[in-house]
C-alpha cells in the first residue's frame, strides 16, 4: 500500500458510490455540525474503501511519510483538542508526557463508555470504526507505541464484531500491522472486552483489568504515562478524542479551532436523553447553550418545565433552570464544578425529585466503588444512607451538613475520580437544588411525590 494506491481506491470508490455521500442526516443544519460524525450514518461501516474515499488513512500517510512524531503531537496541541471523556484534559499535552526513549509503549483507547446516557463512543465504533483505528495509529506514531488495545465495554457486542472486521481489513491493506504504508512504522490493535464495572473506565483500573486483575484503581503516581500497562509507558484516550485526530492532522489545527469557542475548541457529540420529546444523538460546536440543546432534543416532553441538566451519570453533576443559557464549555462548567462529561446528557422535568435522583446515583456509586480506598468505600455508603434518611423524612439539618462535609472529604481524600466526584455531585446539587433538600428536611415536602412513602 502506498499513497498512489490509496488515491486510486478513493477515486474508484467515489465513482462507484455516486452521490451516496451527499446524504445529510442532521435535522438542524444550522446548529449541528459534522466533524466527529463526518462518516457516521453515511458510509458502509464494513467498507474500508468507503472510509478511504472519505480521505480515510490519508492523515496516517501524511504523518508517517512527511512528519516527525513530535510534529504530530504539536499539531494536536495547537488544535486545542481536549479529552472527550469528560475531564477535558488537553490531549496534546498528555501525549507530550510520554517519555521519548525508545522501547515498548502502549496506546489504550478507552471504549468503556461507562457513563450512562452516553452512547457516542458506541455510535462511532459501530458506524466509523476506521476513524478510531486511524486515530490510534496516529497516537501510536506520535508517542512511539507499536501496540494498542481498545478496552471495550461488555455491553457492546456489535462494536466488537465491527471493530474486529475493521482491524482485519486494515491489516490486509497494510494500513495496520507491520511496515504500515511501506514505512518502518508497525502498529497492531487488539480489542479487549471488559466485563461490566463502572470503575473500569478509570485509567489505572483499565490497566489492572487488561493485566488480568480485579479492576481496582491504583494510587498515582506513578502515572500511566511513565508506568502503565505491563509497567510500560501508556497513553489512554477516549474513543471520540482519538477518532477526530485524523481530521486534525489532515486539515490542520486552525481548521479544527474554527469550530467552538476559545478554551473549548471543536465540536462535541451529545446523547440527549431524559424527559425530552425526541431524545437523540447530536454533534454541536462547544459553546452551545443548554437551551439550544433542549431545543435540539425536541423540547420538553408533555410541555413540562425544564428542571435539571445532568451530565456524568452516575458521577452526576447538575445545573438548574436558572442556568439554561449557560454555554456548554470546559472553563464555564469547571467554574461551577460541573463536568462537560463524555456526552451523556439527561434532561429532567419538574416531576423529578432531585433528592431521589441524587440518592439513586450516589447509591450506584457505592455499588460500583471498587473498595480499594476507605473514603470512597465507606463514604459513598454513608452518603447514600444520609440521602435515604432525607427521603424517609428522618433527617435533620445537621445530617445535611454532615452530608456536605462528607462529600467534601470524598472529593479530597478518594484515590480516584469515582469517589472524588461525589464531592462535585453534592456541590452542584446544593448550588442548584438546596431549597428542595431543605423542603424535604423541614417540611417533609416532596414536590414530585417520590419520597416519604
Amino acid at each position: 500500500m502506498d499513497i498512489k494506491l490509496l488515491k486510486k481506491i478513493k477515486d474508484d470508490t467515489l465513482k462507484r458510490v455516486g452521490n451516496k455521500f451527499d446524504k445529510d442526516y442532521r435535522t438542524n443544519k444550522e446548529k449541528e455540525v459534522r466533524i466527529v460524525l463526518k462518516n457516521s450514518y453515511v458510509i458502509d461501516k464494513d467498507s474500508i474503501d468507503e472510509y478511504i474515499a472519505r480521505d480515510g488513512y490519508f492523515a496516517l500517510n501524511k504523518a508517517i511519510t512527511e512528519m516527525k512524531p513530535e510534529e504530530v503531537t504539536e499539531v494536536v496541541k495547537d488544535s486545542g483538542l481536549k479529552g472527550r471523556s469528560g475531564g477535558g484534559f488537553p490531549t496534546g499535552l498528555k501525549w507530550g508526557f510520554i517519555p521519548k526513549e525508545k522501547g515498548q509503549k502502549y496506546i489504550i483507547c478507552n471504549a468503556d463508555e461507562g457513563e450512562s446516557a452516553a452512547t457516542i463512543d458506541g455510535v462511532l465504533m459501530r458506524q466509523d470504526p476506521h476513524s478510531v483505528l486511524e486515530g490510534m495509529a496516529l497516537a501510536g506514531y506520535a508517542i512511539g507505541a507499536s501496540k494498542g488495545y481498545i478496552y471495550l465495554r461488555y455491553e457492546y457486542p456489535v462494536c466488537l464484531e465491527v471493530l474486529n472486521k475493521a482491524i482485519e481489513d486494515a491489516k490486509e491493506k497494510g494500513l495496520l500491522g507491520k511496515k504500515i504504508l511501506g514505512t518502518d512504522f508497525d502498529f497492531e490493535v487488539e480489542v479487549f472486552r471488559g466485563a461490566g464495572a463502572y470503575v473500569c473506565g478509570e485509567e489505572s483500573a483499565i490497566i489492572n483489568s487488561i493485566e488480568g486483575n480485579r479492576g481496582n484503581s491504583k494510587s498515582k503516581p506513578p502515572f500511566p504515562a511513565v508506568k502503565g500497562l505491563f509497567s510500560k509507558p501508556t497513553l489512554i484516550n477516549n474513543v471520540e478524542t482519538l477518532s477526530v485526530v485524523p481530521q486534525i492532522i489532515l486539515n490542520g489545527a486552525d481548521w479544527y479551532k474554527s469550530t467552538g469557542i476559545p478554551g473549548s475548541e471543536g465540536s462535541k457529540v451529545f446523547t440527549l436523553t431524559g424527559h425530552l420529546n425526541s431524545p437523540k444523538t447530536v454533534e454541536v460546536p462547544l459553546g452551545i447553550t443548554i437551551r439550544e440543546l433542549i431545543e435540539l432534543g425536541g423540547g420538553m416532553r408533555d410541555n413540562r418545565k425544564f428542571k435539571a441538566f445532568v451530565t456524568g451519570s452516575p458521577n452526576v453533576t447538575m445545573l438548574g433552570s436558572e442556568d439554561i443559557d449557560l454555554p456548554v464549555a470546559f472553563p464555564e462548567f469547571k467554574e461551577r464544578q460541573v463536568m462537560v462529561g463524555s456526552g451523556g446528557v439527561v434532561i429532567l422535568d419538574d416531576k423529578t425529585c432531585m433528592v431521589d435522583f441524587t440518592h439513586f446515583n450516589v447509591d450506584l456509586l457505592n455499588i460500583e466503588s471498587c473498595g480499594r480506598c476507605t473514603p470512597c468505600r465507606v463514604g459513598t455508603k454513608r452518603a447514600a444512607q444520609l440521602l435515604e434518611k432525607i427521603k424517609e423524612g428522618s433527617a435533620s439539618l445537621k445530617d445535611l451538613d454532615k452530608l456536605i462535609e462528607l462529600a467534601e472529604h470524598l472529593r479530597t481524600a478518594s484515590l480516584c475520580g469515582l469517589g472524588q466526584a461525589v464531592g462535585m455531585t453534592m456541590h452542584t446539587a446544593m448550588n442548584s437544588f438546596k431549597d428542595e433538600f431543605l423542603a424535604h428536611i423541614n417540611e417533609h415536602e416532596c414536590a414530585a411525590g417520590k419520597c416519604f412513602k
Binding site: S116, A117, T273, V346
Partner: protein, 156 residues
C-alpha cells in the same frame, strides 16, 4: 450443588485457555470464555483456569466476583437484563424490574430456583434515547412498559 460438564466441552475449553495462557492479557479472556461456554464460572472451572494461567483460586474468584457479567453460579435458561442506568431510572425502570422479578420469581442479580430465569440489573445498555430498555435472551426491547414486559415474558 455440584455442576456437571461434558468431557468434550471441558477438553475443548482447556485447549482454548491453554492458548490464552501464553498471552499476558489472556486471563480475562479465559474467564469470558468460561462464562460463555458454561453460563457461569463455578469453582470447578475456576480451578481449571487457575491451573493453566498459574493463578490461585482466590485471585480468580476475586475477579469473578468483581465484574458484573461474571457469575459463580450457572445462569438460568433465560437471561433477562433490565437496565437501571440513570436514563432508564428516571423513566421508572425500577417498576419494570420489580415486575420482572415478580413474574420470574427471581431476585435481582440472581437465578430462579428452577434454573429457568436469571435476572440481571444492567447499568446502561447504550440505548438511552429509547429508554427504558430490557434485554431478553440477547434481544433488546426498547421503550418498555410494565404491560409490554409482562407480554414479552409470557412468550418465553
Amino acid at each position: 450443588m455440584k455442576n456437571k460438564f461434558l468431557p468434550e466441552q471441558l477438553a475443548e475449553f482447556e485447549k482454548s485457555i491453554a492458548e490464552n495462557a501464553k498471552d499476558q492479557a489472556g486471563l480475562l479472556k479465559s474467564i469470558h470464555l468460561a462464562q460463555k461456554v458454561f453460563g457461569g464460572v463455578p469453582v470447578e472451572i475456576q480451578r481449571v483456569i487457575g491451573k493453566h494461567h498459574d493463578a490461585s483460586i482466590s485471585k480468580i474468584s476475586g475477579i469473578v466476583t468483581f465484574y458484573d457479567y461474571f457469575t459463580s453460579d450457572i445462569q438460568g435458561k433465560n437471561i433477562i437484563e433490565v437496565c437501571v442506568g440513570t436514563t432508564c431510572y428516571v423513566q421508572e425502570a425500577n417498576d419494570i424490574l420489580k415486575k420482572v422479578c415478580e413474574i420470574t420469581k427471581c431476585e435481582p442479580n440472581s437465578t430462579s430456583r428452577n434454573k429457568e430465569f436469571s435476572v440481571v440489573i444492567g447499568r446502561c445498555l447504550g440505548k438511552c434515547e429509547l429508554a427504558p430498555n430490557v434485554i431478553i435472551n440477547h434481544k433488546t426491547h426498547n421503550k418498555v412498559t410494565i404491560d409490554k414486559v409482562t407480554e414479552l415474558l409470557k412468550g418465553i
